[in-house]
């Protein structure tokens, strides 16, 4: 009897596995559609969206060449700005908020508490609430270039990072830092050689969340940056569709493919951390 129920169990698992496998294939179809259409001539994208390219509709690399040089703004320039803004903003957020979080958790003055509660409050404020005044403020202070936009990201994105760092610092026993102080470490040295290494797991989680946010963000850079000079990947793709009546769908798909390849590579390389980071961020809400 035991043997019988075991094989029934195995059969159930196999069926489940096959069903999920089929769903998985359906799940990747949209991405595969992008791949096949990026090699198709424009006119065939709309009429034969789901067909593989054939001798008649195959465009080779033409879509990619066209996409990269389309309009008066090279795509690689947008990609470069996207990369710089993402890296710089994430680095700035990680450094400044972790330092502030340590100060908040250890000093715990009234001012610290006010800053902390404001940070938590900022997490429930949607961007639309501040977008108009924020973009005007950024203009007035000349923060509207890719080199200065990380400051805006630090300001608007501080909430979640502060919240996660403060929570973690509070769980670190004070004795370690006291031992460092007794050994003659000043606060600066204590922070950089004792606290910072311990923050690593939270750093990775916060870093992942910020990278995903900044890289994909459309509205903030769209409103803050001087659009005639600077674009990021999402703005560039929106601009392709927005400014011309007839869009070259083949070229658009080629650019979309180019913009998701790095994301997928990044995902496959850091999958473990990404999933952990996302789960940590979500639980905090």
């Amino acid at each position: 009897m035991n043997k019988h129920s075991l094989s029934a169990e195995n059969r159930r698992k196999t069926i489940l596995s096959v069903v999920l496998g089929i769903i998985c294939i359906i799940y990747v179809l949209p991405v595969l559609t992008v791949v096949i259409n990026s090699f198709k001539l424009n006119t065939y994208v709309k009429t034969d969206t789901f067909a593989l390219p054939n001798a008649e509709s195959f465009a080779g690399w033409a879509n990619f060449i066209k996409g990269l040089t389309f309009g008066n703004y090279p795509f690689l320039k947008s990609a470069g700005y996207s990369l710089f803004i993402t890296v710089a903003s994430t680095a700035l957020i990680l450094l400044c908020t972790s330092m502030a979080a340590w100060y908040i958790a250890r000093v715990d003055s009234r001012f610290c508490r006010i800053v902390y509660y404001f940070c938590i409050f900022s997490m429930v404020v949607p961007f639309q609430m501040v977008m108009f005044t924020l973009s005007k403020t950024a203009d007035t202070l000349h923060l509207n270039t890719p080199w200065t936009i990380p400051i805006i990201y630090l300001g608007f994105g501080a909430g979640l990072a502060i919240f996660m760092f403060v929570g973690f610092v509070k769980s670190i026993p004070l004795e370690i830092e006291e031992a460092a102080a007794i050994d003659g470490c000043g606060p600066l040295r204590t922070y950089f050689s004792v606290v910072l290494p311990m923050l690593r797991p939270t750093m990775i989680s916060v870093g992942i969340l910020e990278i995903m946010w900044v890289w994909n963000d459309y509205l903030l850079p769209y409103l803050v940056l001087d659009r005639t000079k600077y674009m990021t990947i999402p703005i560039h793709i929106q601009y392709l569709k927005g400014s011309y009546g007839t869009v070259d769908l083949g070229a658009t798909m080629a650019l979309i493919l180019l913009s998701i390849i790095p994301v997928i590579v990044f995902y496959l390389l850091c999958q473990k951390y990404i999933i952990k980071g996302v789960a940590a961020g979500a639980v905090k809400g």
Partner: protein, 291 residues
């Protein structure tokens, strides 16, 4: 003993973050609240007009329409995403072969940005609908269900991760005990598993609700609010426009006089989203007390 020396380093530790926070959040936030009571085209020429902007916001048919469209979208997507994500998470924690690969695939769409997702799906929907001589931009219901499908595709993987974490935290002996007591699989699911993952269910419910209300990029890229419905008074309603997009269009539309109204809409939108957030905080607290 560590407090006092740190305090001397206040400018270094707190300075950059507090300055940026004031520029990027505190000042724009309060200025935004103030401007919602003003008439203005640029922020420097604001004149106080009291609640007029709010009255106009409530009278704006396109705003009211976008509210109901968004609310309906948020509720439908909430139910679908959570039911499907739970089902997938449940299946993936049964110890089947290939679980890791499947989990990787299901989560992948989350990494792709909203604008890009919107264009991918607009190509797919138009590829299907063009065979029937129509397009996603031509009917409100296509736009609505298109957005639902897109959001399910994107969000199921995310919620699935949270559900998997919840399911894996259920003590093994509890499930074992149910099995020994002769509970069927179905009974175990409803009487043991689901009550134990209630915290995850709360998190995911609120998360998908706020995501639904705040949706912007996907909405802009998939339909951009089309199709338009011309009203008897000559104004048009963008029938698939959601709240966030409606606010943006009011701010940066042709009529610069409506910026005050747009800011009032933004404040209302903030109150709506923030109350959902506070509700979540409270329900989380209640659970903590019970445990």
């Amino acid at each position: 003993m560590i407090r006092r020396p740190i305090r001397r380093w206040f400018p270094l530790f707190m300075g950059p973050m507090v300055c940026a926070f004031i520029i990027g959040f505190v000042y724009p936030f309060f200025k935004g609240i103030y401007l919602s009571f003003c008439k203005f085209k640029v922020t420097s020429d604001a004149t106080f007009i009291g609640l007029e902007n709010y009255r106009r916001a409530f009278q704006d048919a396109s705003f009211v329409h976008s509210f109901w469209f968004t609310a309906l979208f948020a509720v439908v997507s909430l139910v679908l995403i959570n039911v499907l994500a739970f089902a997938v998470a449940y299946a993936l924690t049964q110890g089947i072969r290939g679980s890791n690969l499947y989990r990787t695939v299901f989560f992948m769409p989350n990494l792709i940005g909203g604008i890009v997702l919107g264009y991918i799906w607009s190509m797919i929907f138009d590829g299907i609908l063009s065979r029937y001589g129509t397009s996603i931009l031509l009917e409100t219901k296509y736009g609505f269900w298109g957005l639902i499908i897109l959001m399910c595709w994107q969000q199921i993987g995310y919620m699935m991760i949270i559900y998997i974490a919840g399911l894996q935290a259920i003590p093994e002996d509890m499930l074992e005990a149910a099995k020994i007591d002769g509970a069927s699989r179905w009974q175990t699911l409803w009487k043991v598993t689901i009550p134990n993952v209630m915290p995850s269910i709360t998190i995911c419910t609120f998360l998908s609700l706020t995501n639904g209300f705040k949706l912007f990029d996907q909405n802009l890229a998939l339909t951009g609010g089309q199709p338009y419905l011309i009203q008897p008074d000559g104004n048009s309603i963008k029938t698939t426009e959601m709240l966030a997009l409606n606010i943006l269009n009011t701010f940066y539309g042709q009529n610069a006089n409506s910026r005050g109204t747009a800011q009032a809409k933004a404040v209302l939108f903030f109150i709506l989203v923030a109350s959902i957030g506070l509700l979540q905080l409270r329900s989380n607290r209640k659970k903590e007390v019970q445990q």
